[in-house]
Amino acid sequence: MIELQISLLITSIIGAILAGYVCSTIGVFVVRMNLSSIGFCMSHAAFAGAAFGLMLSIDPLVSSLIFSFFTAVILGPITEKAKLESNVIIGFLFSIMIALAFIFINLIPGQAASGVSLRILWGSIFSVGYNDILMLIFLSSILTIFILIFYKELMAIMFNRKLAESSGINTKLFYFAVLFLTAFAVSLSIRIVGGLLVFALIINPTSTAYQFFYDFKKIIIFSPLIGIISCSIGFLISLYTDFPIGASIVIISAIFFALAIFFSPKRKKIK
């Protein structure tokens, strides 16, 4: 086990819990609105952005936010208006982002494939700072307030966007709000979970919750809970085994999903 100062340990576990909360909460909307591939592309853009930040010795959080917001600005209108097959654009942007990320990593001063550059690939419990915690608390609050205030609009849109639009809801506003909150969540969680795996934390807990409930309210409550539990267990595994924290979290959330499929009441055959 790694010897850690108690304050660093507390900061890290709080960071992991908050990352679990924001990612798996926004995941509820990403999965239901079929934004998975956009989010996937966005997480790799955040990864490229973080690498860019490290290359220029600026805060990787700022650069990853800029990159993922840029992706949201590009992909949002294209997929929304269906001007172009969204998968084509996503595949195109995804490959560019991953290529850029590796170029930036290669250009990071010092040894490219070690230390700080690898942390953005698969995350690290050492990389969470006080500012990251504050930002995650800020995003968690925004997300919670957003859901509490606009729950009825969000639920109408999740059921059917066209029907929601026809009853007088401006669904475009919510679509872009979800996109930007996803970009925000991905950028803030990248240091903990890592650029390659952060998107799994958005998809896995939500997909697990979807296996058990028919009530949208319960999914909004249980998805973050599963995300927080996955992050906490993943954190402890990483602490005791020195496994990368991102990989540990994602493996735990994937195990939860596999168990959920196995035990899901929705998948039981009627006798």
Binding site: L163, A164, S167, Y214, D215, F216, K266
Partner: protein, 249 residues
């Protein structure tokens, strides 16, 4: 001369889908008065659904002028939609969809209630009433994906009614219903039109699905209105006899 008060007033409307050059509906002129019950009939691809979605602003017309409640559609689409109940043509719903029937019905009211306000007791009473109108009150806590096609259709109708609309746009609302449910919904539509004075514009591709309360029929073909008049005259016209020969049989 008495000036007529129209709820829908469309003049020379063309609607084209994004990326297409040929309009799906072409040079549509249509006036519907408050309190009318009108059916639109026509074969598949005639432009019936496109016309409904042009009226509630889901599709943007590229030519002509459109007024609903005396307001320009494109400039006031969110405002006018709050007064329009829309029943979409039956769509596939995931059997594991995480929504209860009562939440789906409630979602119809969301636009009208507006943001920064939670559902009140009055709103919920309205939901139970709308569900009871279509005989679905016992299904309130059932998952929406577990309903049959007909039950789902009734929930969509109930959702539109929960909105307390002034105008109902119904896209083939009776197509998935069995005989007794169809009669029940026909009776309900007649009542809503006669007693509650709700204007109804209903799309159907089958003449036998037109409720007795409907007094006017519009026939569409290849994106144009080719007949518009009294229900009995249209049903008995030679044109319809030839045009819908198969269905009439």
């Amino acid at each position: 001369m008495v000036k007529k008060n129209y709820i829908i007033s469309l003049g020379n409307i063309d609607t084209t889908y994004q990326g297409d050059k040929i309009p799906v509906i072409n040079n549509i002129n249509l006036k519907i008065e408050y309190g009318e019950f009108v059916s639109i009939i026509g074969s598949n691809g005639a432009g019936k659904t496109t016309l409904l979605e042009t009226i509630n602003g889901l599709l943007t017309y590229c030519k002509g002028s459109g007024l609903i409640f005396n307001k320009e559609i494109l400039k006031n689409k969110y405002e006018i939609r709050k007064k329009i109940g829309y029943v979409i043509q039956n769509f596939d719903i995931d059997s594991n969809a995480p929504f209860l029937c009562k939440d789906v019905v409630m979602s119809g009211k969301t636009g009208k209630i507006g943001s920064f306000r939670f559902y009140s007791k009055e709103d919920w009473d309205n939901i139970w009433y709308s569900m009871s109108l279509v005989g679905m009150i016992d299904f309130a806590n059932r998952p929406i994906g577990k309903l049959s096609g007909g039950e789902f259709q009734k929930i969509l109708i109930s959702r539109a009614l929960a909105q307390k609309p002034d105008l109902l746009l119904l896209d083939e609302p009776l197509s998935n219903l069995d005989f007794s449910s169809r009669k029940q919904i026909e009776k309900l539509l007649n009542r809503l039109n006669k007693k509650d004075h709700i204007t109804i514009l209903m799309v159907s591709h089958d003449l036998s699905f037109i409720p007795s309360g409907c007094k006017r029929i519009i026939v569409m073909h290849k994106g144009k209105i080719i007949l518009d008049g009294n229900k009995n005259e249209i049903i008995n016209s030679k044109f319809i006899e030839n045009f819908f020969k198969k269905e009439m049989k």
